[in-house]
Amino acid sequence: MSLTKTPAWQNLAEHANDVRQQHLKDIFAQDPQRGHRDQISAAGITANVSRQRILPQTWQYLYELAEQQQLSACIEKLFSGQPINHTENRAALHTALREQHDSGIVVDGYSVFEQVQTQLSRMSVLVDRIRAGQWRGFTGLAITDVVNMGVGGSDLGPHLAVSALQPTDSPIRVHYLSSMDGARTANLLASLSPHTTLFVFASKTFTTIDTLANAQTGLEWLMAHGASRELALKQHFIGVSTNVQKMTAFGIHPAHQLYFWDWVGGRYSLWSTIGVTIAIALGMDAFRTLLKGASDMDAHFHQTPIAENLPIRLALTTIWNRNFLGIHGKAILPYDARLNLLPAYLTQLIMESNGKSVDRAGNSISYRTCPIVWGEVGPNAQHAFYQLLHQGTEAAACDFIAPIHRPDIEQSADEATRDALRYQHQLALANLLAQSSVLMLGDAALDAPPTDPHKHYAGNQPSTTLLLEQLDAHSLGALIALYEHQTFVEAVIWNINPFDQWGVELGKQIAIKTLTALQEGQAESLDAATQALIATLNGQTL
């Protein structure tokens, strides 16, 4: 039976006809208790979902939908390592990467916990050596700069974690190269010393063309500055991959190869040895704390009844907004500039997971799945796309995110600066509260509604506010895990596989053919637009 024909879906569809007529300001006026009631906490994160256009009855119907879709059983399958990524016949065991104790999962006859711990130990040997200044470049100088070469999950995860947790006293500077074009590569290499630079070549398959191209350029750069190929590879590269053979073929020293497994999805890989760059920048203890934060959210997700379960409640708001209120967009709005990469990270996590249009059996589906996700640091976005949120014709659900405490402020040397920074934190929080309130109430936020239609605010825009105790390795781990599980629950409700990404393959295949055409100038077999562009790129006149 199609999902839209099921009883739980039908109940929600009918109920939505009623709710759509109600404005959030009236919903709050009738039920002011919801402000407190619809606030739940887990693993150091508090979520207030009262500004969703959801009534107590709506929640009951949503819970019934979740039960109908056998959510509990699916969660069990996720945690126990069953091959729920059925199109690739793999488990999706990112939760096992952050397990604090062995839960006994075995894949292909091996203990997952033991394998994970072994790689963490190997990683910690390399990380400690680098941070102690005892990883030496080809001339014997200590490594001072690490360049993370990876794309997608191998780039975004480390980049997000390091920039969010902003190490001020790290002995190592970290840089990132992701895109294949090499335009940033040249600038970055010019600012580094080949004697003291180490490349982390991070690629799940170790065949990713983007990363391979950057690594090749890095290797050439080292050799052009006097390193032999042997020493350049031995002292200036760490490899991180599931593909040992390819790492060895490239020339990565066996002791400098870190492994992970095909049951780790790229967008879930920062918890694996892909996180080596995080550990280099922040230290192994901070990396383990990041894992612990995620693990605490896992335990909450795994064990908590549906009505108190943070990831499930948030996922159900997405389903409701997307499928029953017809809202196409979801904005990620952190009110903390250290989280400026969170929107980009979640864009990948959510859209690569749930941007699907066939169900698990391969049937076309008749309902909408993943929304368009985008975002920006909230105070910056206030000067950009908030106009559309407040007065546009497209509704969007917003996630407002902020830390409650800012212990980093107390690190500032003088009291005057500390006072000024405390004021800035209050200012940011006040703006967060004001924006979410105006989105909800519209003109009703004012004592007297404006008469000029250009100054009219419709309001009734749903949002969720997420407060972290403070932004640290633990809360960041928990926050990312919260979105991972939320995304998984959405996929379960939609009956889609969130762990594959077949949609990114075709373009890569065609690019191989196109590269030959571009190099040889023979584009006859390609489409007419490509032919015209190749001619222009090759300086031919048509």
């Binding site: 005892q134 030496r136 001339t139 100088l141 020493l231």
Partner: protein
């Protein structure tokens, strides 16, 4: 005069014993001494110091004091603060206590420094406590190893105070050391403090500059020794402190450099030269590691090297902030075993690396070479300048020397069959 000296390190002991030998009655309070310290630990670092102290203890003009009896010492005319540069808090607390005790016509002399402006702060502290005592800056210029001679025949005596009575008092105290010609330079307290720091900063710049040139010379195949000779003949520059090598170190020198950088940052001024010199020095302290690393093409695991000299300079048992420690850490991290000889510093080394499986301490310098792949030299002890090369050659696996202090002549040593890698000279 009755004098009280606060401190345990060699400047305190040399000052105390020398002043006592001239007839003063000196009480010494080693407040900053480590646990289980005995004065012999310090005297051992300094030739002649033990004998000098023993003699003065016998005359009873030199006695040991303790903090409990502080009020009893308050009547003394001169109180000299000679606490290690690293213990600013201890010094501040002591001055706080003394401010309540010191009376008319008393001097509070700061001999070791704790940043520019500290003396003025102390004077302010005395004023607040309504003590009439005068603070005087008398920076010590005593090098470890030759401190007694330098104390008795100083190149200069800098006195920082603007009080005439205090100047006369200091002149009187130092009369025995100021006979041939007047060495006294009188200036404001902060100027005296800054002079000391500026001298050490310029020395650091000079050495780092020479080291940078030495590395360029290596790359160019030029002998830095020829260049050094040429540079030194320019009278504007002179020959002192032009020796390239494996970096500078030592606890007091490095503490002084940190102190002046701290003063810069307190004033909101970003120092640029000194940090650059320190960065060069960071690399230079590991110069032998780089040479070894490149020579063996990074394959160091399992190798054994002989290491001669670990003290931060000759004639001292001190290894604190010595270049050798950076080299040792780097080699140990690569899985190298070291056979170490040092005439005085082996005890300190064994405390620093207790029971380390990769470090063997050798009391005989030739034993250190037994079965080693090469000999590394980090301190230019006299014992090493003219060794028995045949014995070295017989003991080493290969006749190869990495010399961080350029104590041999490349041509001569290569003639007798050694591969010789030095700083800015020898095999590249």
């Amino acid at each position: 005069m009755n004098i009280v000296i606060y401190g345990h390190d060699y400047p305190a002991l040399v000052t105390a014993a020398s002043l006592a030998s001239n007839g003063n009655f000196v009480t010494i309070l080693p407040l900053d001494a480590p646990v289980n310290w005995t004065w012999q630990d310090t005297a051992r670092k300094q030739s002649g110091l033990a004998l000098l102290i023993e003699k003065q203890l016998e005359t009873k003009r030199l006695v040991w004091g303790d903090l409990q009896s502080l009020p009893a010492y308050a009547t003394s005319h001169v109180h000299i603060l000679s606490l290690s540069a690293a213990v600013g808090d201890l010094s501040d607390n002591l001055v706080q206590q003394l401010s309540l005790l010191l009376r008319e016509k008393t001097l509070l002399v700061t001999q070791t420094l704790h940043g520019v402006g500290r003396a003025d702060a102390y004077q302010h502290c005395l004023k607040v406590a309504q003590s009439p005592a005068q603070v005087v800056v008398w920076p010590e210029f005593l090098s470890e190893g030759s401190a007694i001679a330098q104390f008795n025949r100083p190149d200069r005596i800098i006195i920082g105070t603007d009080n005439d009575w205090a100047i006369n008092r200091m002149r009187d105290l130092l009369r025995p050391y100021n006979r041939a010609r007047d060495m006294l330079l009188i200036m404001k307290p902060a100027a005296a403090e800054m002079t000391k720091y500026a001298i050490n900063s310029l020395l650091a710049l000079r050495v780092s500059a020479m080291n940078e040139f030495a590395n360029l010379a290596t790359s160019l195949g030029v002998d830095i020794e020829q260049v050094r000779q040429g540079i030194g003949t320019d009278p504007r520059i002179g020959f002192n402190y032009l020796y390239p090598g494996a970096g500078f170190g030592g606890p007091n020198f490095m503490a002084d450099l940190s102190a002046i950088l701290h003063t810069f940052s307190q004033q909101g001024i970003e120092a640029e030269l000194l940090p650059a010199a320190l960065r060069v020095n960071d690399h230079q302290q590991e110069i032998l590691f780089s040479k070894v690393w490149q020579h063996y093409r990074t394959h160091l695991t399992g190798k054994t090297f002989a290491l001669w000299g670990v003290s931060y300079k000759p004639d001292t048992a001190t290894i604190e902030q010595a270049s050798s420690l950076k080299l040792i850490d780097a080699l140990l991290a690569q899985g190298v075993t070291l056979q170490v000889h040092d005439p005085k510093a082996l005890v300190a080394l064994s405390t620093y690396y207790p029971n380390h499986a990769q470090i063997k301490l050798c009391t005989d310098m030739y034993d250190a070479c037994l079965g080693a792949h090469a000999l590394l030299i980090m301190t230019e002890w006299k014992d090493y300048w003219s060794p028995d090369f045949d014995r070295i050659n017989a003991n080493l696996v290969e006749a190869r020397i990495f010399d961080g202090r350029n104590i041999f002549d490349p041509e001569a040593i290569q003639t007798i069959g050694f591969h010789y890698h030095a700083v800015g000279r020898g095999n590249a």
